[in-house]
């Protein structure tokens, strides 16, 4: 059993689109912890987060949900994704299987000089 702390609403930067792209959005996984993790009161009650329990999964099967584009020379800042793979929040339930999580996954688009590449 693993527990996913997932963003329920977009975190937005209202005046800087490059910075805005670096912030986690609805369906992005903030953290993955083993079942029974002592989440703090703030983490359990923050209206911007939801904790999803996933059964039948290894950590290796979930860790790609935390991967982002590394901040290196190959990818200009405005194109880097904070999370490469996100979850469709509407498809999430408090208790899920790995298969259900897989079906809720979506690859975030990569932006190339203003053009969205799917």
């Amino acid at each position: 059993m693993w527990e996913l702390l997932v963003r329920k609403v977009d975190k937005r930067h209202l005046t800087d689109p490059v910075n805005d792209r670096q912030l986690l959005k609805r369906g992005d996984v903030v953290a993955i912890k083993p079942g029974g993790h002592p989440w703090s009161k703030r983490e359990r009650t923050n209206p911007e987060w939801e904790i999803i329990r996933v059964s039948g999964a290894s950590l290796e099967a979930l860790e790609h949900l935390l991967l982002g584009d590394p901040p290196d020379l190959c990818l200009p800042a405005e194109e880097a994704r904070r999370r490469v793979v996100s979850l469709v929040f509407e498809d999430l339930k408090p208790e899920m299987t790995l298969t259900q999580i897989r079906s809720a996954e979506v690859v975030r688009p990569k932006r190339h000089r203003g053009v969205v590449e799917l």
Binding site: H13, D16, Q22, E43, G68, P71
Partner: protein
Amino acid sequence: MRVTRRGFLRTSLRALGVALAHVGVSWPKLLYAQTVVTSSIGTTGRDYSTWQSWEDDIPADLVAADVQHVGEGFNDSEFTAAGVVLNVGGHTTDATRNIIATTGAGQSFRDHADKATNPLRYNAAVGVALRKTGNYNATIQLNTGSTFTVIKNLQVKNDGSGLAIESAVAVRHDIDSCITESASAPVILLGNAATVINTLAMLRLSASGYGISWSYPASGALIAGCTVVRPSGLTAAAAGVQANSSNLTIKNTAVFGFADFASGANNVGDFNGSDVATNIPGGNSNGALVYADQFQDEGNTTPDFRALESGGLKFGTPDATNTPDDIIGTTRDATTPYVGAWEVPGGGGGGGFIHQPDKVGGKTGGGKTGGKQ
């Protein structure tokens, strides 16, 4: 979570505002108070149980809010994650309205009761420690935005195929008094006018890879009082510092276990020590030290990079601005501090010959603690 206000000028203005309020004159609140929000991070009744949830809860524009956010780690347990343990990015910040990741009072390896005798290497038992276990990405990743983020007093290790600390190219971040370790190179990757002070960077990778690397250093980039090493059981290769630029100053820094001190001859700085002279900057540097003579244990099994009093690293130059003390807070010698992250308290030994590569090691001994423990 603690919310405080700070700054002498701001405090003075605040006092003035209070005085004016007493006589019925209002004073705009925002003019005199920068807010500092301090949050605790740990697994025993803290504000947050993970570094990432702390970061995600920080507002996007710290300048507009005139606020600094400080995350204080508590050593309730080791902070481990399959992915990035702490990823900072997307915030509007400046030099004072920034993000600082550090430790709570008494929680760092710098605060441990046995800090002077603990081996200088990653050890989660002695202080707040962040370790990434899975593949890809760094343990701490500093993305675009959030410039001036400070990583301080932490232990940072990458057990997977990634760096310990990786920063975006265009932004400045500062690393201060940290123990960093990785088996992928470089251990630390920075950009712009970043600074690394009093930090151990240990690369546990054989035959390739840099210790600390810079992408396009800008004026003001600095490495001071650091120890950059590849343990001696591993094959030396590449350079300890990769950034062939006059924008990068390297001073009072020890580099051992690499094929070159730096990747080019354009760096500036002085008073550096190494077992290799290639591209070592400064006329007072010494590139002919014997690796095996400088540290408690330079091997890859139980490394301990506390400097030896009997070694040859005591020839640094005082730097009251950047390195008045060492990686555990020991006050540096006022006249001849040690080169590297570790200062031997009251050490009187060392003093290797300067720039005489044919005289390996120089004079040794004379101190109280002498050789390896």
